[in-house]
Amino acid sequence: MVTYNLIGAGLIVIGAGIGLGQIGGKAMEGIARQPEAAGKIQTAMIIIAALLEGLAFGALFLGK
């Protein structure tokens, strides 16, 4: 029972990690391409990362 929960948590973390990596990487690319838009990109990045984080935490706690 506990093991299944842990496997689920691991899957969630893997998914969230991939998502966060995508967000961060694309944001970096965007900033490198257009340094003058860095502020806007950063804000959007943080918001999207926060939404993803909320999703991941929600899933983690639902499973626990």
């Binding site: 943080i46 909320g54 999703l55 935490f57 929600g58 706690f61």
Partner: protein, 378 residues
């Protein structure tokens, strides 16, 4: 300069007040411990238990505890009032009556009712029961939880920070009456206020409506930020890691954006224009669940989980000092633990700001979505 000095004075007085109370609050407690090492937190399971205990709200303000030469467990701190709404009405007593017991062995009798504290929750024993009996998952079988309005450590934290914020910002407000540019500590606060107004409220809510919500956003931002930072001090507050507190904040945001939503907002939520009529009810269900449950839930869980995780990580890294003592030696374990916990603490200071920022930002974003005026159909 003057203000800063006064603030320092104020803080010193608070700390001194704490410590004078501590002097009277020194109490010995032999009942707590039965193992032979005098209740020291040494092993891995003890560390885990200690961390989990810290993450919960506590009914007394304990700063630290130690074991005296005689093997007695002593706690330094002061008790806080316990206020319960039991089956017999309101019951109050001081938390010192539990003698720091947390597993239901100490029974406090008030108003003809028996109370025990199990894992930081106060339970009321059933009438005929004399002691707590629990099942294998440590849930009491003959006791039930009561409504607990106690002045717990978190409540003390909220009160303390509330007064501090009021003190700081009413000072800043008063300074504007006499001069254009604030001096002293208020000069630090002014850019923060401007930051929240110009970077969070204005761009997310919009030039037209932001004024109505800036007060709420500013309060929430500073409340969360200062409490996050206080949580990193050895005072051991964990207010923003209490799910009740974050739920309260999230529900405030929910109430605000639900009640300030304009016609367009509700129209888009309940009867989405520009979508085949068949899909509209499905979309309405999704939108309603998203707005009323998922948004506040993600807000409350994010803050709670981030702060709890930070506390767990820091305390675990500090615990390396004890758990790796055998394999690394005293110096090695202590050094490793200090280095690691120092860097994680730096990250946590960033996280403290970031979580306050994100909570305020997302609140502003949700409010902005509710009050935005759509000119085009999409």
């Amino acid at each position: 300069m003057k203000i800063a000095q006064k603030t320092v004075k104020f803080l010193t007085i608070v700390v001194l007040a704490l410590f004078t109370t501590v002097g009277y609050a020194l109490e010995s407690d032999t009942k707590y411990d039965s193992s032979n090492d005098g209740g020291r937190v040494n092993t891995k399971t003890e560390v885990e238990e200690y961390i989990l205990h810290h993450l919960k709200d506590s009914h007394d303000f304990s700063l630290w505890s130690y074991t005296s030469v005689e093997g007695e467990r002593k706690h330094v701190g002061f008790p806080l009032p316990v206020i319960l709404w039991s089956s017999n009405g309101l019951v109050t007593f001081m938390s010192s009556e539990f003698h720091h017991n947390d597993d239901g062995h100490v029974i406090v009798e008030k108003n003809g009712l028996k109370f025990v504290k199990i894992h930081s929750k106060i339970h009321e024993l059933d009438q005929e029961a004399a002691t707590v009996s629990s099942d294998e998952t440590h849930h009491a079988t003959n006791a039930h939880k009561v409504l607990d309005f106690s002045i717990t450590k978190s409540v003390v934290g909220i009160l303390l920070i509330g007064f501090l914020l009021l003190f700081w910002f009413s000072r800043l407000a008063k300074q504007y009456k006499t001069k254009q540019v604030p001096t002293g500590f208020a000069r630090v606060l002014e850019p923060l206020v401007l930051y929240v107004r110009d970077e969070i409220a204005k761009p997310n809510i919009g030039e037209k409506h932001y004024r109505r919500f800036t007060g709420y956003l500013l309060t929430v931002f500073f409340f969360i930020w200062v409490l996050n930072l206080v949580g990193l001090t050895p005072l051991g507050f964990n207010v923003t890691g209490q799910i009740a507190v974050t739920a309260c904040l999230a529900i405030f945001t929910l109430v605000i954006y639900t009640f300030s939503g304009n016609k367009d907002y509700w129209m888009h939520m309940i009867w989405m224009p520009g979508v085949p009529v068949l899909f509209r009810p499905i979309l309405a269900v999704i939108e309603l669940i998203g707005a009323l449950i998922i948004k506040p839930f993600s807000l409350l869980v994010r803050l709670f989980a981030n702060i709890s995780a930070g506390h767990i990580v820091i305390m675990s890294l500090i615990a390396i000092m004890f758990t790796l003592k055998e394999s690394l030696g005293v110096v090695g374990a202590t050094g490793l633990s200090l280095v690691l916990s120092f860097f994680i603490l730096l990250i946590e200071i960033l996280v403290a700001f970031l979580q306050a920022y994100i909570f305020t930002m997302l609140s502003a974003l949700f409010i902005g979505m509710a009050v935005a005026e759509h000119s085009e159909a999409h």
